[in-house]
């Protein structure tokens, strides 16, 4: 093929571009629809996962309770409470525990800069931050081991508390007064998506070093204990061992379902993962069906356009076009039309996804928009789409030319 033929092909294509525009638009629309569908689906699934992990991943929470079975001569109905010394007691005896932290809380007045609010004040240790995804905003930190050991009067506050007390100003380094005791704010929680919680979202909570907290709340008993296993698969084993050990210590039947209770996020996560997987499979099926519908439409158009040019192929063959010239022209046109439609579909989808992601999410009342406004653009899906639809388009666009260029020219010339 000499250098001037492609130029001729281009001029032929330009003359036919109104007809090709329909196919280009179909490809554009198909690309846009599939990429957006998959981006919003993927985004929703990701946000579900993020929201689910907002509380913390691989976490077991242990609560006290009331016995429902008599045990070793003791009656049922006894109150079982957890105490600070249970932390070391359990950690020393259960090697599968990676992290463990106590938590006590109380609803107390908090004031700063003339504003006063009531919030849940928690006492805990540094490990709590790691287990409960307490990520500080830039320039701050969560409570550390030294805070707890030395009983520092420091506080880590939720981002909403910071807004409520300080407006838009940076809260780190400022002082808040809790129940008439001043505390230095060392960190503010980042905005996070959280769909599992107790006592409200973390954004509304205030955390103090455990020993410091005990100075303003003289109840000894803990509200709960947080445990993170070394391996997620050990969670049920840890639950059983905690029951046995606490049962031995506080004298209750380890099989007593009401003496202690557990919130095992690992087990919840298994259910959650099944839901995410289900959503992904559902979206995959929808995507595949959409792709199929698009492919049928586009390949039909492509085939029809190539087929109606059979006579043109006959004329070209009659005046001396070689097979590769004919096939080459159809190949180039198919590639160009496909690339053009797909490119604009890709660009539009990419920009829509990025524009939508700029929309603010109201972390205050975590609603439907948090799931819808964070689409995730997947290059992997785009590549798969290009391979599948590209192959089908290519075959449907080039097949009539291949067939016509293999027959005697007169057969194509007779085509009407």
């Amino acid at each position: 093929m000499n250098a001037t033929l492609p130029r001729f092909f281009w001029s032929e294509y330009r003359k036919r571009r109104k007809k090709a525009a329909l196919i280009t638009f179909a490809l554009f629309w198909g690309t846009l629809s599939i990429l957006l569908l998959m981006a919003f689906g993927q985004g929703m699934s990701t946000q579900f996962h993020v929201a689910f992990s907002g509380l913390g991943e691989t976490l077991i929470m242990v609560y006290g309770g009331q016995t429902s079975l008599p045990f070793e001569g003791l009656p049922k109905g006894r109150q079982i409470s957890l105490y600070p010394e249970d932390i070391d007691y359990l950690k020393d005896r259960i090697p599968e525990i990676l992290r463990i932290a106590p938590e006590s809380y109380n609803y107390l007045p908090v004031s700063a800069g003339g504003k006063e609010i009531n919030r849940n004040i928690h006492g805990t240790t540094a490990d709590f931050g790691l287990m409960r995804t307490q990520v500080p905003q830039l320039g701050g930190r969560f409570l550390n081991a030294e805070d707890t050991a030395t009983g520092r009067k420091v506080a880590f506050i939720g981002w909403k508390v910071a807004v409520d007390l300080f407006g838009g100003a940076d809260a780190v380094g400022k002082t808040i007064v809790i129940d008439r005791v001043p505390f230095l704010v060392v960190g503010v929680l980042v905005k996070k998506v959280q769909d599992s919680m107790y006592n409200g979202p973390d954004a509304d909570q205030i955390y103090l070093p455990f020993h410091t907290y005990q100075q303003i709340d003289n109840r000894r008993r803990l509200n709960q204990i947080h445990i993170q296993p070394r391996e997620a698969s050990q969670s049920k084993l840890i639950e059983a061992r905690v029951k046995t050990l606490l049962g031995r210590k506080y004298r209750f039947d380890p099989d007593d379902r009401y003496a202690t209770s557990f919130w095992n996020t690992i087990e919840d996560a298994k259910e959650g993962m099944a839901i995410f997987k289900g959503i992904e499979i559902f979206l995959g099926i929808i995507g595949a069906l959409t792709l199929l519908i698009g492919a049928v439409g586009v390949t039909n158009l492509m085939y029809a356009m190539a087929k109606e040019r059979t006579k043109e192929i006959g004329i070209k063959l009659a005046i001396g076009a070689r097979r590769r010239t004919i096939v080459g022209q159809f190949f180039l046109e198919t590639v160009f039309v496909f690339a053009k439609g797909t490119f604009w579909g890709f660009i539009t989808a990419f920009n829509i996804v990025h524009l939508v992601r700029l929309a603010p999410i109201n972390y205050d009342s975590f609603g439907i928009e948090a799931y819808l406004l964070r689409p995730v653009f997947s290059l992997r899906i785009f590549v798969a789409y290009v391979i599948v639809l590209g192959t089908l388009c290519f075959l449907s666009g080039i097949f009539p030319a291949l067939r016509a260029s293999r027959a005697n020219p007169i057969e194509s010339l007779r085509y009407e």
Binding site: N2, T4, L5, F8, S11, E12, K15, R16, K311, E312, G314, I315, K316, L317, A318, I319, G320, A321, R322, R323, R324, T325, R406, N408, P409, I410, L413
Partner: protein, 220 residues
């Protein structure tokens, strides 16, 4: 130059078969102007298509310049259609999207001729058929006679020694038909071999020799 020996063409549609040509043998020498006549369905166009390498015979031998056409590959046949044989169709068969200029230029593009040569040749041919002013018009913007003149110019683009014309005046008014015949006669006088299918005795009279077909056979 053109030698046909026992050429047969059978069309098969399902279980039916139609014998369009039944053992045609003929010779056309270099520089001859031959017309082929016969009633509809006598096999004139089928014969022309085989001579023009647009179709292949079911049986028989076709020698072009002493070489067997049956032994040529698809691309070698394309080269024959491109350089050796110019074909003029009754219904013109111009590319509808291309201008008059582009239609004439195309065989030269397929032959790989450079731009300068192409421009010179297209200009020469457009002037020869008197349509230079119409060079940027598409076929739909031209009359039947003009379209056939463009088709004739296209057939001559690569200066082929043989020109085949399948009822070149069949779709034209008498004046346009006469113009086409005048051009064909000039081309013959210039040394080209011309084979023309026609229904019209008056048109056939322009040729040196007439071959008559009936029921797929050459009448003696």
């Amino acid at each position: 130059m053109i030698e046909l020996e026992g050429i047969t063409k059978v069309y098969k549609t399902g279980s039916q078969s139609l014998e369009a040509l039944r053992g045609i043998s003929l010779k056309i020498g270099k520089g001859e102007f031959v017309s082929i006549m016969g009633p509809s369905g006598s096999g004139k166009s089928t014969l022309m298509n085989i001579v023009g390498c647009l179709d292949t015979p079911t049986a028989g031998e076709y020698l072009l310049d002493g070489g067997k056409v049956a032994g040529l590959t698809f691309d070698e046949l394309a080269a024959v259609r491109n350089r050796k044989i110019g074909f003029v169709f009754q219904n013109f068969n111009l590319l509808p999207y291309a201008t008059a200029w582009e239609n004439i230029e195309l065989p030269m593009l397929f032959d790989g001729k450079n731009g300068k040569k192409r421009r010179a040749r297209v200009t020469e041919l457009l002037n020869a058929v008197g349509l230079f002013e119409w060079r940027d018009h598409r076929p739909t913007e031209l009359s039947g006679g003009q379209q056939q003149r463009i088709a004739l110019a296209r057939a001559l683009a690569n200066d082929p020694p043989i020109l085949l014309a399948d009822e070149p005046t069949g779709n034209l008014d008498s004046k346009s038909g006469e113009e086409i015949m005048a051009i064909l006669s000039d081309l013959w006088r210039g040394g080209r071999t011309i084979v023309m299918v026609t229904h019209n005795d008056h048109i056939a009279a322009c040729s040196e020799r007439t071959i008559r077909l009936f029921d797929g056979q050459v009448l003696p």
